[in-house]
């Protein structure tokens, strides 16, 4: 974490996980065993080590609140560690100071980092003091050695080096690499106490205690987590009690409870890497309650115990994405702009389709928040300034952003179309967005552009865009917008407004063959507006995680025989048949269609054909047609184009030539 906001996000996410676990543990206290009660804390440990994210959270509103507060607090601070328009981000969970502090929030991170270091130093010091104390102890006498060996042998546990220390209130194990069992000098130690400590030793509880102490240091300034970590320690002791009880029988169990009770007022070691039978009166009361339940836990709960941990781990570790709605994206008043911009910073587009959908709807709705969600973060300051200007100077709603050239006559309910996504180098893609417009605003700013008859021209506007991935998928306009006076959606069939995605051509002795491609992408934007009749309409709410429903690859083919070199012209008809190839050398069997008349068709296996009658006054020596096929499951990739086409040319119903057009024939 590089700034105090990262720490706040991490510690609050961890606190939420602790709240969830404590609530579940409270509800299942008498239903699942101490083994589960301690084991479920592993989710807390994992949560503590995994950096919290802003896109998903156990409580999705939390990152948005923090990001909003950060934006408001940092605006006037000029901090060295955090920036207004960079969302909170954690690479890891340890504090890192990346320069000299420059603001109040920077100093808070310094204070926090110093606290972590001091806390770790304090733990180290207390551990060293304890080891020094043990170093002054005397090695276990033969009687104690014998007792330890007996207990170890009876329960199949391996003892460790043991020392007797005068004045110790109770036995404990200290150390991870070379553990030492410390027992009070001059007092007899009960077998059950030794059993408890040997079980700690054999289950590496001292190492776990060290890990929990480290996490406690990372969250030294969060008192709620201190409480949670205390509960973790107590559950570890409860589990050890459970293990002891599983090995004892009848009266021994009752005696063990009495030993615990007798320690309620004893002091106990608090150093990390240490485990002790005694851990304070309150905790012992909880452990006694768990011991009372020892035989009452329902049996055969292994499966549900594991499943419950998995079910809890899923939201705690993976989180849930916030479901932002129209109101989140559309602040009416300037006071709501901070929150909306924070939302645009953390609610980034997760797919290529999502970025295009969000940007396109931003243009349709003239909504700067939509645009910001699909724009690079480096543009956010400029976008926010424009929105503030429009609300303060022009009286617009807070989200308003001018659409830019030619889009004033936008037909909002007409939706938009995506054309020709294609790689543009450096991991970027180029695409065209088409919007229907009912008029083109004249340069004078008054009225629409009119044709020679004085009729207002309508059509569509094509916006070139680049799309790439940085902190999510982002969109930026890639040049001048183009006006098309053809009807909306006609761009698919013509190459005059924007160039074809690919154009292959071949000149033969029988004339010229051209094959042109266009790709059209569809995102399912239909939303149900009436549950009874099932009416749907175009949804104007952006979908940052949208997927392409399908992509149509349109093939437009044409054959002109006018400029042939065979020395004569066809008498009755010309025709063309096209086969899509996956490989230029692919063998294909053309359908037996007669191409000596007038008409065309296509087959589902990738063949299409057209023919034209020649004659009469209107001599036409060019035949053209088109067909399309759909691609699905594109994810973040452009629709694939066929690498080659096999073409047959017909004169007067007879095939005159067969040729293959490949990408080498591209214009």
């Amino acid at each position: 974490m590089n700034n105090i906001w990262g720490f706040l996000l991490q510690t609050l996410s961890l606190s939420l996980t602790a709240v969830l676990l404590l609530a579940v543990k409270w509800l299942l206290a008498d239903k699942l065993s101490p083994r589960w009660q301690y084991g479920v804390w592993s989710i807390l440990a994992l949560r503590a080590l995994i950096p919290a994210g802003t896109a998903r959270s156990l409580l999705p509103a939390l990152p948005l609140w923090l990001e909003t507060w950060k934006g408001m607090a940092e605006r006037g601070l000029n901090s060295a560690y955090s920036a207004v328009y960079q969302p909170i981000h954690l690479d890891h969970v340890f504090p890192v100071l990346s320069g000299r502090p420059a603001s109040f929030t920077d100093w808070l991170l310094v204070l926090y980092a110093a606290g972590v270091v001091l806390s770790l130093a304090w733990y180290l010091l207390s551990y060293l003091r304890l080891r020094l104390l043990l170093a002054r102890g005397t090695p276990a006498g033969p009687e104690l050695q014998e007792q330890l060996a007996r207990v170890g042998e009876r329960y199949g546990l391996k003892p460790c080096r043991t020392v007797q220390v005068r004045g110790l209130p109770s036995a404990f194990v200290c150390g991870v690499v070379r553990p030492v069992l410390a027992v009070p000098d001059g007092e007899g130690v009960d077998d059950k106490v030794l059993l408890h400590e040997l079980l700690h030793l054999n289950h590496h509880d001292a190492l776990q205690s060290l890990g929990w102490a480290f996490l406690r240091s990372l969250h030294w300034c969060n008192p709620f987590l201190w409480y949670a970590f205390d509960r973790v320690g107590n559950d570890m002791e409860s589990l050890c009690d459970q293990r002891v009880l599983e090995r004892l029988e009848g009266e021994e169990r009752r005696e063990y409870g009495k030993i615990l009770l007798s320690m309620a007022n004893d002091r106990y070691p608090r150093a990390p890497g240490t485990t002790s039978l005694s851990n304070g009166g309150k905790n012992i009361a909880r452990r006694i309650a768990a011991i009372v339940r020892f035989k009452k836990y329902p049996r055969g709960m292994a499966l549900v115990s594991v499943c419950a941990v998995v079910v809890l781990a899923s939201p705690a570790l993976w989180g849930t994405a916030a479901a932002y709605g129209f109101s989140d994206f559309s602040p009416g008043f300037i006071r709501e702009l901070d929150r909306a911009m924070a939302m645009a910073r953390i609610n980034r587009c997760t797919t290529l389709a999502g970025a295009l959908d969000t940007y396109a709807k931003g243009l349709i709705e003239a909504n700067g928040i939509y645009i910001a969600a699909a724009s690079p973060l480096s543009r956010h300051q400029e976008l926010e300034a424009e929105m503030r200007y429009s609300v303060e100077s022009e009286g617009w709603v807070a989200y308003h952003l001018d659409r830019g050239p030619w889009l004033d006559g936008m037909d909002k309910n007409g939706g938009y179309t995506i054309y020709d996504i294609t790689p543009a180098g450096d991991g970027r893609f180029h695409a065209w967005l088409e919007f229907p417009v009912s008029y083109f605003l004249a340069e004078s700013g008054k009225g629409g552009v009119k044709d020679e008859n004085g009729e207002t021209l309508r059509g569509s506007v094509l916006v070139p865009v680049y799309i790439w991935q940085e902190d999510g998928w982002v969109v930026e306009e890639a040049g001048e917008r183009i006006c098309s006076y053809r009807g909306y959606g006609q761009t698919q069939y013509y190459g005059d407004a924007i160039p074809w995605l690919r154009e292959l051509t071949a000149q033969t002795q029988w004339g010229t063959v051209t094959i042109q491609n266009r790709t059209v992408y569809t995102i399912d934007n239909q939303t149900q507006t009436d549950s009874f009749f099932g009416w749907t309409s175009f949804s104007l709410t952006p979908r940052v995680d949208a997927q392409f429903k399908e992509a149509l690859t349109w093939v437009h083919y044409s054959y002109s025989c006018l400029e042939n070199t065979v020395g004569h012209q066809p008498q009755t008809s010309i025709g063309i048949m096209v086969a899509e190839l996956d490989d230029p050398d692919q063998e294909v069997e053309f359908p037996q269609e007669y191409l000596g008349g007038y008409g065309g068709g296509s087959s589902s296996d990738g063949f299409s054909w057209d023919s034209l009658l020649i004659g009469g006054g209107d001599q036409n020596y060019e035949v053209a047609g088109g067909s399309g096929d759909y691609a699905h499951d594109l994810e973040n990739n452009p629709a694939p184009l066929h690498p080659a086409y096999r073409v047959r040319l017909f004169w007067d119903g007879e095939m005159v030539e067969e040729l293959t057009l490949t990408e080498e024939d591209a214009l």
């Binding site: 509800l27 709960m301 499966l303 549900v304 809890l312 939201p315």
Partner: protein, 190 residues
Amino acid sequence: MNEENKMNLCQAVKHIAWGYVLLHFNINLGPLNVLPNWAGYLLMVGALPALSEEESSASLLRPLGLLLAGWEGLCWAMALFGRDPNFQFLSALVTVIALYFHFQLLTDLAIAARNHQCSQEKRILHLRTVQTLLTTLLALPFPLERYEALVMVVSLVFMAVAVWICMVLFSLRSSLQESQYENPPPAAIP
């Protein structure tokens, strides 16, 4: 177990079976679900005292059942007013509680079936395991909605398990009723 207890157990199994019907099947009249889940949980909670005569751990389920009924009641009321109960944090809590509740309840029913030599014991245990695993799988962060075929398969399996649970519980009730009339009560409960 005396005859009265056995009759109570038959009634309890019937209530639990109807509870599962209410839980697993919904008939919506607009926003109103006429087979509300909260009513299903209340039926189950009402059946717990009789079931705990067979297996004492069933009594532990009462607070959980009431909690689940309360949660389902809240969701039901919110749906009536066209609101989506979008409390992710509480949902995680409720999913775990429901997972435990059904696992323990079906375990206790299987024990009751075994105590009365009813053949449904094994089937109840198998259904319990399948239902627990399915609920856990669905809680995993996997974008299931993107795979229509998989959604269909999981929905069908879930529906089959739901129908099967109801059928097995109704048949357990019939078996208990038959054994009530055919066999004299055992001299002592082991």
